[in-house]
């Protein structure tokens, strides 16, 4: 860690005051930025706690006069997303059903691919890796229509497995990149030792690499989970009634064009939709940084 604050200097008094002033300045700057980052969340939370009446008449960014949780209740189980007025609850579970397997599968495949690219290189492995990486950069709008066609041909159009499939495909580039960058830091000697011990390709992966991968699994899972959970474009294009993820429901609540807008419900729904990803960041954020240090940063 880079710590300069401990350096003693000529006059103890002078430096002490200088140091304290500097520290205050430091915290002040950090605080200002914290406000910048928190502002939208603040607006969302306060709005969700206001009544519609108050929103219509008052200042949108002011603190609520009367705190009410009605909007939250409505958003969770009462808001209309079409003719059903069950709130976002059913869609929440759709999202879980999509995100959990998609994250798991793309992470596992990414791990396997990264393992091959980093430790079982063969001719052309680099080119394959490069091609996969390039896939990370394709704008998703481009693939919507041909993908729809193929999903139809595969018979999984509009189904949850179809959505899982799409997310896995377009997550592969990043997960492979993460794992590959992490695995290149694991010494080749480990693989060699295991080979001499008689272990094969899968055995080495399963018994040796996978247990070592926790930090990078955390990074990948966080990344993939936020991507998939927050995805709207695929969700809206490749779902049908009954398989729509929460972002679509949220969009239905928030973005109706010609109806009456209930901003408090919108915001409450938005926060509910964001809770899982927020939770993931708050709980695992520290492993996220650690995982980045461990692998993907190495350039």
């Amino acid at each position: 860690m880079t710590d300069f604050s401990m350096t003693p200097a000529h006059s103890r008094q002078q430096t002490r005051w200088g140091k304290i002033a500097l520290r205050w300045l430091l915290y002040l700057i950090l605080g200002v930025f914290a406000v910048y980052y928190l502002m939208p969340l603040f607006v969302m939370v306060t709005t969700s706690l206001k009544s519609l009446e108050e929103i219509r008449t008052g200042n949108l960014v002011a603190l609520p006069r009367d705190v009410t949780l009605d909007a939250w209740k409505t958003a969770w189980s009462g808001a209309c997303t079409g003719i059903q007025c069950d709130g976002v609850r059913p869609y929440f579970w759709n999202s879980v059903l999509i995100a959990v397997p998609a994250v798991a599968i793309s992470t596992l495949l990414g791990a396997l691919n990264g393992y091959v690219v980093a430790h079982w290189r063969f001719r052309g492995a680099n080119v394959i890796f490069a091609l996969m990486l390039f896939g990370c950069f394709i704008p998703f709008q481009v693939v919507l229509l041909p993908m729809a066609r193929l999903l139809g041909l595969m018979g999984i159009a509009g189904t949850i497995p179809g959505l899982i499939f799409v997310h896995v495909i377009y997550g592969l580039g990043f997960t492979t990149l993460f794992f590959r960058n992490y695995y290149v830091t694991i010494p080749a000697e480990l693989t060699k030792a295991a080979k001499v011990d008689g272990a094969g390709f899968l055995r080495i992966f399963w018994s040796i690499f996978l247990p070592l991968s926790l930090p990078i699994i955390v990074v990948t899972v966080i990344w993939q989970f936020t991507q998939i959970w927050n995805d709207f474009l695929f969700g809206v294009s490749f779902s049908q009634a009954g398989t729509q993820p929460i972002t679509v429901a949220l969009n239905n609540i928030v973005n109706s064009t010609t109806g009456v807008k209930e901003y408090n419900v919108d915001m409450a729904a938005a926060i509910i939709a964001a809770l899982p990803t927020l939770l993931v960041y708050v709980v695992a954020g520290k492993y996220f940084i650690r995982g980045l240090t461990a692998g993907s940063v190495k350039g």
């Binding site: 000697e189 060699k192 295991a194 080979k195 001499v196 008689g198 247990p211």
Partner: protein, 365 residues
Amino acid sequence: MAPILDIKNLTKNYGSVEILKDINVAIDQGDFLVLVGPSGCGKSTLLNCIAGLEPISGGSLHIGGQDMTDVSPKDRDIAMVFQSYALYPTMSVAKNITFGMKVRGVDAATQASKLATVAKQLQIEKLLDRRPGQLSGGQRQRVAMGRALVRDPKLFLFDEPLSNLDAKLRVEMRTEIKELHQRLGASMVYVTHDQIEAMTLATKIVVMKGGVIQQVGTPSEIYNRPANLFVADFMGNPAMNLIPAKARSDAAGTRIEIARRDSAPIVLTDSQNRNLPEDVVLGVRPEDIAEPGARAAANAQEADCLVDIVEPAGADTYVVMQLGGKHVTARLHAETDATPGKAQRLAFDLGKVSYFAPDTGQRLN
């Protein structure tokens, strides 16, 4: 009996680069072969070829009489110990040792009994439940040995197993490995670039440079009769003094003239070696330049030399002078009164000197 390991005309390329060139080595059951050489000379590559971890590009490789050229590592009946130990970081010590057996489907009872034996042998019984991360360097080293020992293989391969340990531990572990070798009578191939390790452990040493074998021999052959300047310089610490000198051979022997900085050249007479060319490089080990009378040397000749640096090293004191335009080190007693800037009388033991051709670097005597 067939040699336990027999390498014939082995070559190894990475792409178009030839890393190993026409390697021929054979060792017998119970031999302790040490591969030494500077970093990057291909020692690890050769060891990996023996283990089957790298395919070879040419030549053949037999282990225990069987052609193993294309056999996969796990079927070669070898065990290997790595420089970084390569312990499986997420497994306990016990699991590290038994992993290979588990993979091979050895039953649990056998696993346990073999584990117990090996753990006892290496005195790591108390560590069996720990993770590698919780072990000191020496302990890790022992576990890595345990993982190899438990296999009871035809051939042990070691890739610089001690180089990550500190000096003290290195000496201890060295002794342990030597003891182990004597007790098991196993065949071992051992890579190091520490030549003391090579000397103390080996029954046979291979010195390599740039993928080419420079010399194969017993430790004393290598130490006392290095085949060329490279081997002479590489083996021994402090290194052999390699002094440019003029030789004048006649029937009685050879007069060797060595330039001195501030005075007339030293002239030594070698009665054993004749027929040397005029320009030679004289190779003398530091311990063969000593106080007069320190050792009963058959062929000792004395001269005064101006001392530049005195390095007391506890057991001995090294003094450095300049002869023939080079730093020359002599090993004196710890109690010597040599002082920098003063002349010191030294005896050169010509019984054990080497001569090399300055151009080719090949040994002349």
